[in-house]
Amino acid sequence: MNSERVKDIGKICIPGMRLSPSDKEHISGPGTYELKGYIYASLAGILKMEQDESTKATKVSVISSRTPSVLPMTGDIVTAKVTVVNSRQVQCVILCVGPSVLVRPYKGILKKEDIKFTDKDRIDPYKCFRPGDVILARVLPMTEIHWYHLSTAENELGVVIATAEGSPQGVSMLPISWSEMQCPKTLIKEPRKVARVIPENINQSLFPIDNKGEVKENGL
């Protein structure tokens, strides 16, 4: 292999390679693992060292060009699509974990009491979700085998994309309050558990929105 090609890539790691000691200055990040006081690579990829601003520690991680075989882990924010709604719970399929798209969909379940943070005993799932809605949710600790338990009990979590009943496909409703959305075409209002989220990659010049403070706050 000629050294010219490798020059600008950075340090290439393969699984089992010892990267650094594991101490206060070095934290093991994604794509690495700790063993007996050292940090080792667990993926084939490129080494990335980044300084954490708050703790002044270097986070050692390995970035693979492929999406690693990720599964939703406890605490992750996932994008899911609602499939079934009944009076006790909402069933959905998990499509993405954070920024990475899953190859297989995994089943998730959202219990009635995990939908909202307040008024837990007066939640009606029918007034929060409809089949077909795309939601953001957080993964709760795993207790069952075939299901991931999810929660939307945060302001930033809930319905992101939804289509009103009778509206044409592809026309999604816009949020008008934290509990209602409206279709721009038919002007039908429907109740939803709305997520307070502004997409990151929105073209600001086309959609002039003047709430940049919130964007920072919601940074997912």
Partner: protein, 311 residues
């Protein structure tokens, strides 16, 4: 053995015609003499301690585009394909398991073996190989990252000329790394056939066959060993021996195998590094193209804006 009734299986008591050829009726000593000449050179020109991995090793990844990761390994006439898929739900499981499971399947192509035709239904040897492969891979995969799920690893042996388990383990290790499955270490494996006081490193099928054949001389060492090693962590992840050997022979064989496994390592490392470089360049190319497209789009938009303002 369960038969696959959906296919035409042929008469059950058929035996290969090779059984009646002169080649087949050779005695143990004739076969032995044939395998190695007076100078200690094997039939295919290698010396006793020379593995095929040094001269004939050929491997690549991304063999199968549908799979998450895949690999192909060729050791002269032993050819193995392996593919790895994303974790999926375990069917019929009703117990919570904190560690993910590996599902390995080793399959011989029906025409892969020089002696008998392989049936379609998995036979005992295939099942044993699948178990051995799973055992060898389990310590190296970070299984805590996919609790309650299973990772599928399929190995297909296209052509079998000895050391197929070692080739399968090497291929599976490569495919796992290619699929970006988090691993504690790379895994390498090697086989060894013992006939008397001779050790055939990386044996061919003929040598393997002679090693597990029952010798006419009593009391000599004979048998087969396959060992899988995690080189960086210096751990043996699997060790399988069959035949009959005394302690000294096993100790010596372990040493030899350990060295051989270390020799294979650079080959595998090279492939993985090359992969990273290639994918990095690919990504750079894609990013460049994306930037070009974006610039073109922006230019178009400016054009329209001026048109709009003018109109």
């Amino acid at each position: 053995m369960p038969l696959d009734y959906r296919r035409f299986n042929g008469p059950e008591d058929s035996i290969p015609y090779n059984y009646y050829t002169k080649e087949y009726l050779k005695s143990y000593h004739e076969l032995h003499r044939e395998l190695i000449d007076e100078n200690g050179v094997r039939k295919d020109g290698r010396t006793l301690d020379e593995a095929r991995s040094l001269c004939m090793f050929f491997a690549r990844t991304d063999m199968i585009s549908q799979a998450k990761g895949s690999a192909y390994i060729e050791l002269k006439k032993t050819k193995v394909v392996c593919s790895v898929f994303d974790p999926r739900e375990i069917m019929h499981q009703n117990e919570f398991s904190a560690l993910g499971q590996l599902f390995c399947e080793v399959k011989f192509a029906p025409f892969s073996c020089p002696r008998q035709r392989r049936p379609h239904a998995p036979d005992a040897e295939e099942k044993a190989l699948s178990v051995a492969l799973r055992k060898a891979l389990e310590p190296t995969v970070c299984r805590h990252l996919f609790p309650n799920y299973q990772l599928d690893i399929f190995v297909y042996i296209l052509e079998h000329d000895g050391a197929c388990l070692a080739a399968a383990i090497n291929a599976a290790g490569l495919a796992l790394a290619d699929a970006a499955v988090p691993m504690y270490d790379i895994i390498t494996a090697c086989s060894l056939a013992v006939i008397g006081d001779q050790m055939f490193v990386d044996p061919t099928e003929a040598e393997e066959n002679l090693a597990i054949m029952n010798p006419e001389k009593d009391g000599i060492n004979n048998g087969l060993i396959t060992m899988a090693v995690m080189p960086e962590l210096r751990q043996i992840s699997d060790f399988r021996q069959i035949g009959s050997m005394d302690v000294n022979c096993i100790m010596k064989a372990t040493e030899v195998l350990q060295k051989e496994c270390e020799k294979i390592l650079p080959n595998i490392q090279q492939i993985l590094v090359l992969n990273v470089v290639n994918s990095f360049e690919q990504q750079k190319q894609l990013e460049k193209e994306a930037k070009e497209r974006e610039a073109a789009l922006n230019a178009k938009m400016e054009e329209w804006k001026t048109l709009l303002n003018a109109g």
